[in-house]
Point group: C2
Chain length 306, copies 2
Amino acid sequence: MTYCVAIHTDAGLVFLADSRTNAGVDHISTFRKLTVFEREGERVLVLMTSGNLSISQSVVSDLSEGVTETEGLWAARNMFEAARIVGEAVRRVHAREIAALRAHDVDFNISLILGGQIGGERCRLFQIYPAGNFIEASEAASYFQIGESKYGKPILDRVIDRRTPLDGAAKCALTSMDSTLRSNISVGLPLDLLVYEADSLRVTHFSLIRDQNPYFRMLSSTWGERLKQVFSAMPNPVWGDAESALSLSSGTAQPVRVTPAAQPAAGPQPVPTPAAAPPPAASPPAIQRAAGDTPATTPGQPSMPE
Amino acid sequence: MTYCVAIHTDAGLVFLADSRTNAGVDHISTFRKLTVFEREGERVLVLMTSGNLSISQSVVSDLSEGVTETEGLWAARNMFEAARIVGEAVRRVHAREIAALRAHDVDFNISLILGGQIGGERCRLFQIYPAGNFIEASEAASYFQIGESKYGKPILDRVIDRRTPLDGAAKCALTSMDSTLRSNISVGLPLDLLVYEADSLRVTHFSLIRDQNPYFRMLSSTWGERLKQVFSAMPNPVWGDAESALSLSSGTAQPVRVTPAAQPAAGPQPVPTPAAAPPPAASPPAIQRAAGDTPATTPGQPSMPE
């Protein structure tokens, strides 16, 4: 798998990609998923890919090999046109590969992030889908993730908006990556981090972050420690005292409970082993619901909410 | 979707389930996913379900309706047998439903968590799969999640071990749920929280947590605020000074760069519109890799790592 995140703020763009690829657990290797098209002073385009590695490589090759400076991404007049060119490359690869992939039940699995700036146009950021269609980041949705996106999403949701400074956005992207690295073994170092300052029309900062990188080590250990400190400092719940500001009490609410059905015949019976349990007898069903959330069931006619 | 988490510590068990179900975005409703089988002083079993709601309901019904106290989960002699009984219920529902589901291309989608204690046996916690097979939590893997598990996994990975006190585990489960609620609209309040203290053989604490619950409100706002404070307090990266303890510098490492291929003919050419761009010419390919991570490519023969 992969985890890539790109953040668009007023100050520019931040791109971060891991570099792990795997085909099964015994075939793990490193593939860099961030590619730069830069003509200093004129355009910077950054492309990140996730999905099937052969498809990703085919798309990047389609966009780069033999493409002169008067063609393709080198000639796109604006970022929207650049996103369309990437989408068209995805569609060409799809047309070429899909029949063979289907014959092996392999999905056409690729997602891309494209961001950058061309000439006097503003910075823009796009996410491109396997069908070659795409969406653009906006004021309200100012980051994109591809690959293993869920572990690292909460911190982005809490911290990022358009006013976040570039270094803060880089710090947030790395924090989001740190959570992902810890929780998913299919995402791994080194990391490609690229920071683009709006209107600079050149790569502002780049780092290939390995495990001994001092900042990333500091961030990773500090974040983990502080998180634990903050967690420990939050008060534990209070049970039973409904007036407490820390009360977890929900009054008389009860969990959904099951009670045994009545015995079909009087008197105790030998306990059957479960494997030999008879089919449910015609005794009244036994799901009871407490007051408060769902209506109590009429005995003999339980109903589950939909 | 759903998010349920159960934590097994030396002190007992914590179960937390959301209650949202949806079939498309215009069919959202509340379904409680946590069910208790309790015979005070003798056994407490807690079952949580995620997946297709009709399948979850069928399994819970199979385990409860018409089942007398000498059968099924009421008669299981230990938790392993209880997990096997739940697995058999899953298999019965599968046998009954799978043909019809397949005819509509619907997956047999269900995951369950079963935990509790029977008589003098220790507390145990199991996760049960759609095939009815199951695994048990261990010292090293002391929690299980089902449903939308990824958003809330990092905090569990950082905080939980077997020595975590029960109230701390409840706090952690709620923090994990808070991150999930914020990042995924298919998970929603109210929450069923059940705390089981080892050897008590009855439900120790239960709360049905709605949005006005004072503890959960405190936890949610405090956690969010503190997270932002900790994040802000972490230093920003330093660029350029490789000696700094906060350096993000990676020396001479460069991103993977693409450069334009040589023009097939001498002299400037008119810039074609990308849609009309000619197929890649036979000029040398143009992917360059910097020293440090991947070998630089021989001009004319680029190779991507696998």
